[in-house]
């Protein structure tokens, strides 16, 4: 299965799910997300939601950098400005 998902019927979704659980890189990514999720649950028990969710969003910057260097996406200055605003907002929330 390659390319954009266009079939959202039950059979199509089942094929997507099959691809997800059999593709090593996707499962590794989900594993990392699970680790992040576990840490996030621990943070939720210690801090209010309105702090916990944005405070963990600094990974935006890292993901944008990886998208540019590894995924070869064309990250324009508009997009960088948007990401910078998101990062600035995160810093404001941390105080």
């Amino acid at each position: 299965m390659r390319g954009e998902i266009v079939d959202f019927r039950l059979g199509g979704l089942a094929r997507v799910l099959h691809y997800i659980v059999t593709h090593r890189l996707v499962m590794l990514g989900i594993g990392c997300n699970a680790l992040s999720f576990g840490s996030f649950l621990a943070v939720l028990s210690l801090a209010p939601l309105s702090f916990a969710v944005p405070a963990t969003a600094l990974n935006f910057i890292l993901k944008t950098l990886l998208a540019k260097w590894y995924l070869r996406e064309d990250v324009s200055w508009h997009r960088w400005a948007g990401v910078a605003l998101v990062a600035a907002g995160i810093l404001m929330i941390s105080f």
Binding site: L41, A67, E73, H78, G89
Partner: protein, 145 residues
């Protein structure tokens, strides 16, 4: 011919908007339900681990929150098949505004003025990214021509 071209251009935008809303709201409500679930859990250090685990897997807030986050994950992964990672993540950050509203009115959390300002700034950043093309990789540019 014109109608076919228009339909081909409209449907991806409609699909994109539906999935953006799905990603934002499933993530926001999933996190909110998890927060409510965690607030109802016993003290981790004062409870035997097996008992804590039992509370965790039978907590309806945790179960529904986890189900919504599974929907969020599936929706986001689907979006990555037609949109850039550096587009999807900032654009869906506008969900922080929804999270803040839920935190205030459902969880009764206090949100300072500075924190509100930060959330507004995040939303503006998200809106700025949403004005950029949703896919920029060379292979997609060729397909879109």
């Amino acid at each position: 011919m014109a109608a076919t071209v228009t339909r081909r251009r409209v449907l991806p935008r409609v699909k994109n908007r539906i999935f953006l809303l799905l990603v934002i709201f499933s993530n926001t409500f999933g996190n909110c339900l998890l927060a409510m679930g965690m607030q109802r859990m016993p003290d981790f250090l004062g409870t035997p681990f097996s008992r804590y685990l039992l509370f965790l897997i039978t907590n309806p807030w945790m179960l529904s929150g986890t189900a919504l986050l599974a929907l969020w994950l599936f929706s986001q992964l689907s979006m990555f098949t037609w949109a850039d990672l550096s587009y999807v993540l900032p654009v869906t950050a506008s969900g922080y505004m929804v999270t803040a509203l839920l935190s205030k009115f459902v969880l009764d959390e206090h949100i300072s003025a500075l924190r509100w300002a930060g959330i507004v700034v995040i939303t503006f950043g998200s809106m700025l990214v949403s004005q950029t093309p949703m896919r920029t990789k060379a292979e997609w540019r060729e397909r879109d021509r």
